[in-house]
Amino acid sequence: METSIQKTKRTAIGRWVDRIQLYSTAQLFSVLIAVTMGLKTRQRMSHNNGIGAKGTFTFDLDPDIPPHHFLEHGKQVSCQVRHGMATFYDDAMSAIRSLSLKLSDQPFASPFDMNLNTGSISLFWNAASFLKLAKMRRQKWGIEYQDYYKKYPIGKAGAISTLRRNPTSFANLTYYAKTPFNFVGKDGVQRYAKYRAIPYDPQVEESGMIPERDKLEPENQRIIPGETRSRNYLKKELAERLKDQTVKYWFQIQIRKAEANDSESIFNCCIDWDEKEFPWMNMGVIELNEIMDWDSSNVIGFSVTNLPKGLDFIKAKSIYDYNSLNYMRSKMGIARKARLLGYKLFGKPVEIPENDNRNSSTIV
């Protein structure tokens, strides 16, 4: 049967209702996280299991990157990186690994922050799907999101893309920001950008790709039977590595010009941009040379609001808008502040002990 199609229209009232819903959802969610996680348990929303490192960021700009006042070729600035994993306190589990970049030596203030995770696509694609993921987590003993993966196959594909089991080092993983950002350079042309960090040596093979068995059931993130790696092996590996060498990454950017007929799917973090049409270009080098202690690593915070003008996040229209994820992130400041208040009131979280509390989402 042939399908006849009729275009739909959207009213101004509808647009306003969408925005109010987005605003209230983001605010409510951030307050909820602030109270239940930040203040009560002194946890981040995710990626609590992590370790920081200090170093420098040297702008090494590909000539094809349009000029932007923030991007100065050859400029070197201090930087901090926090490597983490979501959402368990056990490095040997199958989990998402992260690299959060801050071009500053301050705990929060920074001209440029970027959160990156393994895998080029995500488990969720907008605020609505993120909330659905959160609602359907139902974690028990290292198994989570079973129903979510059944209902949302893209979420499952995202999990398969992002999960890493027993990587040999944080240093040989590739990390993607996944969500696009604005890129409005000196020429004033509207462009969009995606970011990633790859090992400095392009020959390095990414470790920890999940085996076929795990692809069938990404919901099972538990350590493999007879696992000998410790709960902190990956953090320790980074600390050991930084004792006698630096860890370097290329920080890269993918840029596309905004077109009048662009589909909204270009903002979808579950769809890669064509690398041939929009090639990755070097933006600079991250060079880490000093490990941070557990407490300093916990205090450090990152935000999508820490971005220079023209490179900021894209405004969202509704909770179904793909850009609503960064909008939600932008409203999480209150959660970070609540966590820091919790540290002051109840003390900082203890370091993850080397014990048999495996497959755990709690420290002890």
């Binding site: 399908t3 199609i5 009729q6 739909t8 799907s129 059944k150 949302y152 589909s263 909204e264």
Partner: protein, 737 residues
């Protein structure tokens, strides 16, 4: 002194006059009674609505239903379901897979099932979001614009709707070429699944595997039967209202007569077979006897009815005498009760110079009297006087049960059901559905009812004939195992007075011509959707019974199809209207199957002309076979039941050995031989119900789904059919009674 030659012309003239007289004399409902449904018919007393309070309640219910329908109709007009899909960009999809639900079927996909996604707004408006068909693996992807759902917060509920495509409506094509009548697929809602709007967050939403209880095969029998747990709730089809109205009008008077008799019998009030007979409308033999007593007991009438009546027997050449024809009924292998004359019967016929069939001898094997030996055998000829007359009566009765069980119930009802299940499970897009479905409709419903009241333990066959439940079961399975579409052709006329065979061939020619033209017009689409035919064929063969050939024929032809053997049968054996013994049967899971594959090719390439021609020819033959059996085959066996078993003393479905030493050779008036009073009145109930409650005729095309081309072609042959005694306006379009 030589006896006066029999006047055949007179006999047929009387027959024609009586048939004309009986036309339109069947009583119609004049009382308040109503029938609850066809499934509630029962020869012990159907469920009638007769209590005044119940009638008032039923009227109120009808009024309520009418009011409800009117309100729904108004709502539907106020908030129509526009077929246009509303969307800007495709940014989301709902995916999943449809499979059959039954245990053995769980991984069998339901292909080409039409599905739609609708949103209902807070203001009751309907928005069509998407539509698609499942692919050949049962997978579907309904792509839609998520912003439409969330647009202005208007969508309240999201409905995932699964549709049947099991009927068509024919629109006449504007050109003169009548073959191109356009079949418009009609989708009927089968199942609705509500989707939580909040679950649709964009991208893909997976509904997973959705198992549907849809045309499932029963697992409690080896016969290919459909699962119907509750006729009124979960049957895959429903009778149209007009069918219910027709049976209410036509059958209530008969039902009331039977009730009156059963009540009298129960109360011990006097009642005779003659009284029972006279209470029911006259049948053909009763009417003819009034004109010329003895005419329907003549050898000539016997011969004609055996060949051209309800029995429409297939005759072989007599292996012992090539000048004679042989008709054999085998019953002794089937479990039966001992108090009935249930003989194996061998009949020999000659064809006289005018082409008429004359019985020459009847051999009865088995007991013919209460103390008769199971191995006794007696051959009678016209010279044997009363015994010969009685032997004809035994043969008529035996032929009656054979026609009812073998030809009517198995060859048309069950045979059609096996094609119906496979067709409804698999054919949706292929144009072939448009020519098959009108003739496959409702057969599973009536078969379900027949199970209950006709063939199950305590059913009429079990009560009125010698066959036990075990015997019925085996007989049905065996007969079904002798049926196959491949290389089938209608009965070959043995003379110009072989009216049944002539009419069957004429009808088959019409079908072949109609199907050929239809295929020519739709060949491209038939080839394009060949996968459906492949799946149809697979289901048919996989669920078919084992092939069957009786021990006598196995020995005679040195072949056993049940063991996968094939051989050319002996010359005396009639090949038409029978399974081709020269074909090796398909093997499925170490079991040979009676039905042949229509195709074993999943994809048909029209560039491979030879293969295409071969496969299309096979499909045409299969279609012709299915339609023939479901229409003409059923019409003949069914509509003539009141003529041939509508007079209790003339013939019935069971004849008892009686109490007299001469047993079945006693006179017709011996009540110990005839069926008892209960069975007698129930027999009249049955023969009336089967022959006189018609609905669904090709020429009337009540449901509008018969291809006008078939109607046109039949109309062209109206006179030729009439010459053979067939009124084309009485040929049923479906096997529904």
């Amino acid at each position: 002194m030589p006896s006066q030659p029999f006047d055949f012309d007179e006999m047929f003239r009387i027959q024609a006059e009586c048939e004309e007289k009986l036309k339109g004399t069947h009583p119609t409902r004049t009382t308040r009674h109503r029938i609850k449904s066809i499934n509630h018919l029962n020869d012990h007393g159907s469920k009638l609505i007769s209590n005044p309070l119940a009638i008032i309640a039923e009227s109120l219910l009808r009024t309520y239903e009418k009011a409800r329908d009117s309100v729904q109709s108004v709502i539907a007009k106020l908030f129509p379901r526009h077929e246009q899909v509303i969307r800007n960009d495709i940014n989301s999809s709902i995916i999943g897979r449809l499979t059959f639900a039954e245990l053995k079927d769980y991984h069998v996909p339901i292909h080409h099932m039409h599905i739609e996604l609708w949103a209902k707004t807070r203001w009751w408006q309907w928005i069509k979001l998407s539509q698609t068909d499942t692919n050949i693996n049962g997978h579907f992807e309904l792509s839609f614009d998520m912003s439409v759902i969330h647009r202005n917060r208007i969508a309240k509920t999201i409905r995932f709707e699964i549709y049947h495509t099991d009927t068509h409506h024919f629109n006449e094509h504007p050109t003169e070429n009548k073959a191109i009548y356009r079949a418009e697929r009609l989708n009927r809602l089968f199942k609705t699944i509500k989707i939580n709007k909040g679950d649709l967050t964009g991208m893909s939403y997976n509904m997973g595997t959705i198992p549907l209880y849809y045309w499932e095969y029963r697992r409690d029998t080896k016969l290919p039967r459909v699962v119907i747990k509750d006729h009124d709730l979960d049957a895959p089809q429903k009778y149209p209202k007009e069918r219910m109205d027709a049976i209410t009008t036509q059958f209530i008077p008969i039902e009331l007569i039977t009730r009156k008799h059963l009540s009298k019998i129960k109360k011990g009030k006097p009642l005779t077979i003659e009284e029972i007979q006279s209470d029911y409308p006259e049948n053909l033999t009763v009417a003819m006897e009034k004109v010329k007593p003895g005419i329907t007991r003549s050898d000539q009438w016997f011969g004609d009815r055996m060949i051209n009546g309800m029995y429409a027997s297939t005759l072989d050449k007599d292996p012992e005498n090539p000048d004679l024809y042989w008709l054999y009924y085998h019953w002794s292998s089937y479990d039966h009760r001992p108090d009935y004359a249930f003989n194996d019967i061998s009949m020999k016929f000659s064809i006289n110079d005018e082409g008429y069939f004359i019985p020459q001898s009847i051999t009865l094997k088995g007991p013919t009297s209460p103390d008769g030996s199971p191995n006794s055998k007696i051959t009678l000829t016209p010279q044997d006087g009363q015994k010969w007359e009685a032997a004809k009566r035994v043969a008529r009765v035996s032929g009656g049960i054979l026609t009812e069980m073998d030809k009517h119930f198995t060859e048309t009802h069950l045979n059609t059901e096996q094609y119906a299940i496979a067709a409804y499970r698999n054919i949706r897009r292929n144009p072939v559905g448009a020519i098959l479905f009108p003739h496959l409709r409702n057969v599973v419903l009536i078969n379900h009812t027949a199970d209950k009241i006709l063939v199950k333990k305590g059913g009429y066959i079990n009560r009125a004939t010698a066959l036990t439940k075990t015997g019925i079961k085996k007989r049905v399975s065996d007969v079904l195992g002798t049926l196959d579409w491949k290389n089938w052709s209608p009965m070959k006329p043995l003379s110009d007075k072989h009216r049944y065979a002539l009419a069957a061939n004429l009808y088959y020619e019409v079908l072949e011509s109609y199907i050929h033209e239809f295929f020519e017009a739709h060949e491209e689409d038939i080839i394009a959707e060949w996968h459906e035919i492949y799946s149809f064929s697979n289901d048919l063969v996989e669920h078919s019974v084992e092939p069957f050939l009786c021990g006598h024929l196995q020995k005679a032809h040195k072949v056993n199809p049940g063991q996968g053997e094939a051989a050319q049968p002996e010359d005396w054996y009639t090949k038409e209207n029978r399974m081709d013994l020269n074909l090796k049967r398909p093997l499925v899971s170490d079991e040979f199957k009676a039905l042949s594959h229509i195709t074993t090719t999943n994809v048909l390439n029209k560039n491979h002309q030879e293969e295409c021609d071969r496969e299309l020819t096979a499909l045409k033959k299969a279609c012709a076979y299915v339609i023939f059996n479901a229409t003409f085959g059923h019409y003949w066996a069914n509509s003539k039941q009141y003529d041939d078993i509508g007079e209790i003393r003339y013939s019935s479905l069971g004849i008892r050995l009686g109490t007299d030493p001469i047993g079945v050779f006693g006179p017709e008036q011996d009540d110990s031989i005839s069926p008892d009073l209960t069975i007698s009145t129930q027999m009249m109930w049955w023969s009336n119900m089967l022959s006189k409650t018609g609905y669904g005729y090709i020429m009337k095309n009540e449901q509008g789904d018969i291809n006008p081309l078939l109607i046109h072609k039949l109309k062209e042959k109206e006179a030729a059919f009439a010459e053979l005694g067939v009124d084309i306006y009485t040929i049923q379009s479906e096997t529904n009674i």
